[in-house]
Symmetry: C2
Subunit: 412 residues, 2 copies
């Protein structure tokens, strides 16, 4: 059961002019589910992406990076293709050839060049990609292409997810109102650096390509890069931002312009909501935990301390048990890779309850208060370092029996 | 059920001349168990220790470090005192005072100075140490002091351990045969840097103090610092090496002498066996996993790669399920913090089975072979980086349902 997360209301998902989506049952790994997705973009769309930092990146990541690097205005990206079932990672040269062949098959159907397609895969690592089944399924995806297919797209890319993840917003940009709609998948192996996470966000705004590229990094750093389920990173993850430019409006081209900031913040809000949905659907999660670190010398040290807490299996099992064994949080802080961190200055709050002040148990703290906070399904851990003015926030979930079950059984 | 680990045969534990141990039921946290230990050393013993690198180090660690720093030949360490139940961490100045008071109480009973006592605590963090109960129990520990009490000592320091951990060896050093006997505790939060681990090893060899200090670091780096259960580190961990000098023999005082090397290697072997026992008794462990990395440019990068694998929850749950989902191992390698690691060079073996060659699935690999290896209770993961001649090894266990249960219930 995900934490306070329901499937999106289909009526809330706004089509993005210039984007059509089509999904099909290609029988790639399991029968009776849509497992193949095509996202077709009208001519003129600008596309930018960030990928996993895992050195063992999958073949589709290698190919997608190449296609984005070769990008020129006359041969821009025209489609994305996403398969589940197999990650096409650890598959060597044959894997790269398989990803290229997938692009070539779709390019033939859409009448563009293979280099204009971005391939994505998610699933089991180190098994060959069944290109024939994918090729056979692509015509059905193309036949299904529709602008209002976002929920079907969200379903088609699910793996261990229990709930499809899709979000839409209208954003006022200068005189215009633009649409931002996105889908994501991911439930485990979620970590900064995009681990086993796929996110696709599209907007109809007209934005210069360099700013689309800036925005994708900005949004990732404030969304997918600050959530964690188990600290592992994946070989396949990617976050793609598409600006179709279908909206009639002046092009956004100044990084300091209020239009850019408004649009970028709208994109970031959608990405963050998708990232939170991934944590809420974290494998076996029963609690949504916000770890906020304040009073640091810089955002970087705040993030390191926050992740040290968010990654700790002992902290995460204590939350699962609703046991305010809060020394585990301080022990995790002490383990953070921050030079000269003075733990004797640190205050620890659980929601509004002051647990520890200046590194030691606060005399006014009552365990009943800690227990009350920990029993809730949403908890905020707040750490005040008392050595500066910077802050940062990351989000995670607890570690439960079901995490073990899901990951012990994933392939069977 | 620990993995291939039985309680030590009491007859196998050799008393160390110059060391007496006494344990008592002090009712520190739970009734009906021995929870307090005193280790008394004859005059002339040389003592060295390494402690947790967690910045949130516990009050007894602060005090023990001070007492070891003040060490002079005329007022050397004369006793250790260890309590379970409370870690006396995150307890501020009151905690330091409580640790000092514990030392003072024992010093009064033994007729030495408080600065000649090293205090150790393990248990729940951030709750005050019940010094009165400890003080009341100390006379019974002193009354119990005996040379052949090693097994009782191993039992008295257990927390979530299911099996007491004690090891003894005879080591030939030049013309002499010396004894090395040690006890340890720890079952979770075990990680390099001494996490929630206490280890006490004593020998009757005559060794110059600087060499005792060298040997404690040498042994820790090859034992307790290369095992991990859950990657968390603790506030309290310590490894203490005691050389009583009770054996009539020439003092070992040359770092390059064969006598030093023989003795140091004997100490390291005992420490390693204790560290392995901790992993075998890892919370919920069902498998003992050796991760060996070869062909690296230096031991440091080999260790980083090995720990990236040994810390991965996805790898550890795959081992729990005996599921050769081996791409997870490569993904963990790709996540290691090693600059310019070329994953296209890496070979992966599971015991003697070649799974991946040059970063991709080996064509001759059969899943049945992987399955056969993974079903065993002891498995070796071997990674060959193919870029140098260095190697390193770490040890870990799998991640099971019981890990979650134990840590969700620890305080109740």
């Amino acid at each position: 059961m995900p934490v306070n997360l329901s499937p999106p209301d289909p009526g809330s998902l706004l089509p993005v002019p210039g984007v059509a989506l089509g999904a099909a049952e290609a029988g790639i790994r399991k029968p009776d589910r849509r497992d193949l997705l095509v996202v077709r973009l009208d001519e003129g769309a600008r596309v930018a992406a960030v990928f996993t930092k895992n050195r063992f990146c999958a073949a589709p990541v290698v190919v997608a990076r190449q296609h984005l690097t070769m990008l020129d205005p006359d041969a821009a990206i025209r489609a994305l293709v996403v398969n589940t079932g197999y990650a096409n990672a650890g598959t060597g040269k044959a894997g790269v050839a398989a990803a290229r062949q997938t692009c070539a098959e779709l390019a033939r159907l859409l009448g563009c060049a293979a280099g204009q397609i971005l391939p994505f895969s998610t699933g089991v690592i180190m098994e060959p990609l069944p290109v024939d089944r994918i090729a056979a399924g692509l015509p059905r995806c193309v036949a299904d292409l529709r602008g209002d297919n976002w929920l079907a797209a969200a379903r088609a890319i699910m793996t261990t997810d229990t709930v499809p993840k899709a979000v839409s917003r209208r954003v006022t940009v200068g005189e215009s109102e633009v649409i931002v709609t996105g889908v994501a998948k991911g439930a485990g192996m979620i970590h900064p650096n995009m681990a086993t996470m796929l996110g696709f966000v599209a907007t109809d705004a007209r934005v210069a390509l360099p700013l689309v590229r800036k925005a994708v990094t900005h949004a990732a750093d404030r969304s997918f890069n600050c959530v964690t389920v188990d600290g592992d990173t994946s070989t396949n993850d990617a976050f793609v931002l598409i600006a179709t430019g279908a909206r009639k409006m002046p092009e956004i081209d100044g990084e300091r312009s209020p239009e850019y900031v408004a649009w970028r913040d709208g994109v970031t809000a959608v990405a963050r909501e998708l990232a939170h949905a991934i944590v809420r659907d974290g494998e076996g999660a029963t609690k949504f935990i916000t770890v906020r670190v304040e009073g640091g010398r810089g955002a970087d040290e705040c993030r390191k301390v926050a992740f040290a807490v968010a990654h700790s299996p002992l902290v995460k099992t204590a939350f699962f048990a609703s046991d305010p064994n809060l020394g585990r949080i301080l022990a995790a802080v002490g383990h953070a890779d921050v030079a000269d961190l003075n733990v004797d200055l640190i205050d620890l709050y659980l929601d509004d309850v002051l647990v520890a002040a200046k590194g030691a148990l606060h005399p006014g703290y009552r365990e009943a208060d800690g227990q009350r906070v920990m029993k809730a399904s949403e908890v905020t851990v707040r750490l005040v370092l008392n050595r500066g003015t910077a802050s940062d926030t990351v989000w995670t979930c607890d570690l439960s029996h079901d995490y073990v079950s899901i990951n012990a059984d994933y392939r069977s």
